[in-house]
């Protein structure tokens, strides 16, 4: 497995790609915060926020539907919000009987449900765009510039750096289990569910020992290459004038959404 097998970065040249990672992190967070602050049913503001997202897609040279195609990851979670359809008082839209409940969908409930879905759908797309236009190590570096404690950013950087090594290890463990799980035709291999969970647990224990021992070797190898407790990067990570201007403009636009949403 390649070391950046997990990165969602899409390598291309664009205005957004060239922006400093800090700018992208700050604007993404401001955008998500703004969505959370918009009132239920602020359709015009939601529409403008969507246009903002589409323009960011275009400016990033990835195609206008880039984030749309990947935006449904959060959708299964909508299940937990279904109850607001029935539990918020309001005018009845439709009543029906489900198993042993009498349910009434109210207009206020529907308004809230749709608003929650839109907020979630817009926010997740901006987060997708962030990791598509900045390399993950650069995002971690940006977090360090934004005063996230360095012990935490270093742990995250190591997590990311060695994940592919350990996932390779997991694949070896899974292949070994597969190879030993033969079964006669028509028979099921393996024991009870509890037994299978126990096997998975032993594999996790094995993975722990391998990771633990590997961390020693990793540390020694890093010392040999001059590690002093700080991770360096060859990217300059300097804020240029275009970075300041873009941040200011984006934040003003996002504030404008708030104003529109409260009209």
């Amino acid at each position: 497995m390649h070391f950046d097998a997990f990165d969602r970065y899409h390598d291309t040249q664009s205005f957004i790609h060239r922006l400093e990672p800090r700018v992208k992190v700050v604007v993404t967070i401001a955008y998500i915060l703004s969505n959370a602050l918009l009132p239920d049913g602020a359709w015009i503001a939601f529409g403008l926020a969507w246009l903002f997202l589409l323009s960011a897609n275009v400016l990033s040279n990835l195609g206008i539907t880039f984030t749309l195609k990947r935006s449904f990851v959060a959708l299964p979670f909508a299940l937990v919000a279904i109850t607001v359809l029935f539990s918020i008082p309001g005018e009845s839209l439709s009543a029906f009987h489900f198993l042993f409940w009498d349910l009434t969908i109210t207009d206020m409930g529907l308004l809230r449900f749709v608003s929650i879905l839109i907020r979630s759908w817009l926010s997740v797309q901006m987060a997708i765009l962030l990791v598509a236009t900045a390399r993950f190590p650069d995002i971690v570096h940006a977090l360090e510039h934004l005063r996230v404690p360095s012990i935490l950013t270093t742990i995250i950087a190591f997590l990311y750096r060695y994940l592919f090594v350990l996932v390779d290890e997991v694949f070896r463990l899974l292949r070994a289990r597969e190879a030993r799980s033969a079964a006669a035709a028509g028979e099921r291999s393996g024991g009870s569910v509890a037994w299978r969970a126990g096997v998975a647990g032993s594999m996790a224990g094995q993975l722990f020992l391998r990771s633990y021992e590997r961390s020693d070797r990793v540390y020694n190898a890093m010392l040999a290459r001059g590690y002093t407790g700080h991770l360096n990067t060859i990217n300059p990570h300097e804020l240029r004038r275009v970075d300041y201007l873009t941040t200011a403009l984006a934040l003003i636009i996002i504030l404008f959404f708030q104003w529109v949403g409260r009209l």
Binding site: A36, P76, T154
Partner: protein
């Protein structure tokens, strides 16, 4: 790739602004105690170790086992991380895992990440380590049994906290979400318990030194036992209450003034949840929230001090 989202990661949009920010504040305060504690007690060598351990938890979540009908279970890892790495390191490691899941895989939101870290990284570690710490010097069988119970409870605690946050955000009906979440996670938690116990058993058989005297696993103070038991009791007492008598919890929430958070949508400014001299403005709500955060922060800081002096 084997990455499969777990049902506890709350995406953005499902928590309202007050709940998100309060959870972020609780998380940041707890983490800053964890950062200062680990910075003081660990050498530079431990940071790469913790990073690789975070990688380990992430990768271990990919080891799945078939359950039934095409579904499969896998480890979540909070209790295991706490027991093998010690409490503060366990918290930082689980935080890194949740942060990467949210940032890189969009499994859990960014604004909701404070809540996600709290539910899956901090509560699970407090229960997992606290209960295990209470039987640290007992026989191996007792330790493994308690570790299993702690793993199950830690999953339930995460599920209960998630349900309560969704309810307080006005996203879900209290009774429905609590019963559904706890029901599903009672089963997921069984898998978690079995995997955690088997993993610990394997480590005890092959490298008992990693869990014995003087290891990270034994470094937490006795204060953790209290923390673990208190959080566990809250889960045990609150779960049946919330699922069987939601009106009761509503009444408690009214008495404590929480319910306004629960009933307000993300923007409505409820007069009782503002500062009188500023009137009903967003600034007032934010300040009211900030004051609440400071109060909670002081409590957690004092708790942290207590845990430190006892260790």
């Amino acid at each position: 790739m084997h990455y499969s989202p777990a049902p506890l990661h709350i995406p953005d949009g499902f928590l309202n602004i007050s709940v998100s920010l309060v959870c972020w504040a609780l998380t940041v305060i707890t983490l800053s105690v964890a950062v200062s504690r680990t910075n003081r007690s660990l050498g530079e060598k431990q940071v790469p170790l913790m990073g690789i351990m975070a990688s380990f938890i992430f990768a271990a979540q990919m080891i799945n086992f078939p359950v039934a009908g095409g579904t499969s279970g896998h480890l979540l890892g909070g209790a295991l991380a706490a027991i093998v790495l010690g409490p503060w390191a366990g918290m930082l490691v689980m935080t890194a895992v949740v942060a990467v899941q949210g940032l890189l895989f969009q499994d859990g939101g960014l604004l909701a990440m404070g809540a996600n870290i709290l539910n899956m990284g901090l509560l699970t570690v407090a229960i997992g380590y606290g209960l295990y710490r209470s039987v640290l010097n007992k026989s191996q069988a007792t330790r493994l049994t308690v570790a299993g119970i702690a793993a199950w409870l830690s999953v339930m605690a995460g599920a209960l906290a998630t349900s309560l946050q969704l309810w307080l955000s006005g996203t879900s009906n209290l009774q429905t979400v609590v019963i559904a979440m706890l029901g599903v996670h009672a089963v997921i938690g069984l898998g978690e318990a079995l995997v955690t116990v088997a993993a610990l058993g394997f480590i005890l058989r092959t490298r008992p030194d990693l869990l014995g005297e003087g290891s990270a696993s034994a470094e937490g103070g006795r204060g953790w036992v209290v923390a673990g038991i208190v959080v566990s009791l809250l889960v045990v007492l609150l779960s049946p209450f919330a699922s069987a008598d939601p009106d009761g919890l509503n009444r408690v929430a009214i008495d404590l003034g929480f319910i306004h958070v629960g009933q307000s949508s993300s923007y409505q400014i409820i007069p009782d949840y503002t500062l009188p001299f500023l009137g009903a403005t967003p600034l007032s709500t934010i300040l009211a929230g900030a004051i609440g955060i400071v109060v909670v922060g002081v409590i957690i800081f004092l708790l942290g001090q207590g845990l430190k002096t006892k260790s």
